[in-house]
């Protein structure tokens, strides 16, 4: 019993410590984001790594998600009403408000988040982070600010592309398997989808981008113990980011609904 209480206490202390360190890291990122000359070339390099390099995989994910959504909704409404109804509307709502932002964020967390944690973690265990300090550069300025900026810049753009590609995937299935003309499909999309709905999904991606950047940078900066430690940090970063995307999705959606978005 004493052991269990001790373990709970230790975990609680570890968690509090981690929260405190994450807050201090964020404070340092904010400080250097506004107090130093922006590292434009590094930010561009990271944007390519995080955004551009993730495009194909997010596009594929979204395309097939749109296709399967159209297929399932078409079949369901055909069974209920003898014809596929509102397929474009349902696919676009599901993608733009939920699946586009969430799936894109999960893919980016798995691909780019892992890259960021592994890269920073390797720099940590090989003393390259310490070398930055000795060369007059704060790692927050040189490593973290560009990565935060890259996540915040690219994830919303990737999501917008993913929404379009997913809707196009739905249209392909609609016209080829459900006999829905493309014009009717897009009419369904445009009639019911409002600017507010698009914004609902779009705003969420900033929260997800920030959270993925926080987790992947924090895990990288706190890596210990050589190659094994890098692997452990990377796995933890990916799992935590994916879970937090889903958890955050509920709370941010509730908040946006509450403010009328």
């Amino acid at each position: 019993m004493k052991n269990i209480v001790g373990r709970i206490g230790k975990n609680f202390l570890d968690f509090s410590g981690a929260l405190g360190s994450a807050f201090l890291m964020f404070k340092s990122v904010l400080f250097w984001a506004f107090r130093s000359k922006p590292e434009l070339s590094e930010t561009a390099r990271q944007s390519v790594k995080i955004g551009v390099d993730s495009f194909v995989v997010t596009a594929l994910t979204s395309f097939f998600t749109g296709m399967v959504l159209a297929l399932q909704m078409g079949q369901t409404t055909r069974n209920l009403f003898n014809e596929p109804l509102y397929v474009g509307t349902i696919v676009s709502f599901a993608l733009v408000k939920e699946l586009g932002p969430v799936l894109t964020s999960i893919v980016v967390a798995g691909r780019a988040g892992a890259v960021v944690t592994a890269e920073i973690g390797t720099m940590k265990v090989t003393e390259q982070i310490d070398a930055l300090y000795t060369l007059g550069t704060n790692p927050s300025r040189y490593l973290l600010v560009p990565r935060f900026a890259a996540f915040l810049l690219t994830l919303p753009v990737l999501t917008i592309f993913a929404d379009f590609i997913g809707i196009a995937g739905g249209c392909l299935v609609g016209s080829s398997q459900l006999s829905i003309p493309a014009a009717m499909y897009f009419d369904d999309v445009l009639t019911y989808l409002s600017f507010k709905d698009v914004m609902h999904g779009y705003v969420k991606t900033y929260f997800f981008a920030f959270m993925i950047a926080m987790v992947s940078c924090y895990k990288g900066m706190n890596t210990k113990g050589g190659a094994e430690g890098v692997g452990k940090s990377t796995t933890e970063a990916v799992v935590l980011s994916m879970v937090l995307v889903l958890v955050l999705d509920y709370f941010v959606s509730s908040m946006l609904v509450a403010v009328g978005l």
């Binding site: 400080f31 720099m123 090989t126 003393e127 310490d130 070398a131 300090y133 000795t134 007059g136 550069t137």
Partner: protein, 244 residues
């Protein structure tokens, strides 16, 4: 001059540095020796605040680096130091040229057009030529150390800190690194602090050698006096190192 006063550092309940005090004078080559795990690297990392001490003062040319929380002041004091890491710690995403010129961008106002000349000069000082476009993965262990030293001296620091500079090197490379350290003192007049467990190296190159044990310096003297020190810790270390 670096003055260390009552420096303390603990990790959990392990007291690594325990009220350590020492003064490192300008121009000297000061070596810290002791067995592994005695806190030598912790000491050298505290000097440049890569590790924050729990208490005590580290006065670098009149400014206390241990207590300052101002990022810009800290960077200004760190500007006086070059640091040679045990494994070099070269940035593996950059080539040799970018590594050596990195500090010039952040620590100096030198125009970019001057970088190639400075990089060539510094690489020549450590005995390297024509390696600017190589990546760290393409360099041998000894070359990595020399590039790392070129990177440290590119910004012309007043102090150079060497963390286990000969660990993992063969005898030829060890000799080369030894010459490199003395060259830095003789050619550019820097004050050097060398942390090593290689007693032979320390006795050969240093102005003073300090023996670390129990979180403090138990002996700190010129090599000749060090060799004849009656301190039992020193005697034991001399015996283990085969220099009795």
């Amino acid at each position: 001059m670096i003055e260390v006063r009552n420096l303390c550092k603990s990790f959990g309940d392990r007291h690594i540095l325990d009220k350590m005090s020492v003064t490192i004078r300008d121009g000297e080559l000061f070596s810290v020796i002791g067995p592994s795990g005695m806190g030598k690297s912790t000491f050298i990392k505290c000097l440049i605040r890569l590790i924050a001490p729990d208490s005590g003062e580290i006065i670098v040319d009149g400014e206390d680096i241990a207590s300052t929380s101002d990022e810009f002041r800290l960077a200004r004091i760190r500007r006086k130091f070059g640091y040679l890491f045990q494994e070099g710690a070269l940035f593996d995403s950059m080539n040799v040229f970018e590594n050596v010129s990195f500090g010039l961008k952040y620590l100096t106002d030198i125009p970019k057009s001057e970088y190639p000349k400075i990089v060539r000069e510094k690489l020549a000082l450590v005995g390297l030529k024509g390696v600017e476009n190589l990546k760290p993965a393409e360099l041998s262990g000894g070359m990595k150390k020399r590039v790392a030293l070129a990177r440290s001296i590119a910004v012309e620091p007043k102090y150079i800190l060497y963390d286990e500079p000969t660990t993992g090197l063969d005898p030829v490379m060890t000799g080369m690194v030894r010459d490199m350290i003395t060259d830095m003192r003789d050619k550019i007049g820097v004050t050097s602090v060398v942390v090593t467990h290689d007693l032979k190296l320390a006795l050969n190159i240093s102005s003073r050698v300090a023996m670390m044990s129990g979180g403090r310096f138990v002996e700190c003297s010129a090599p000749d006096s060090f060799r004849t020190s009656p301190n039992p810790v020193v005697q034991e270390f001399m015996r283990i190192s085969g220099l009795e």
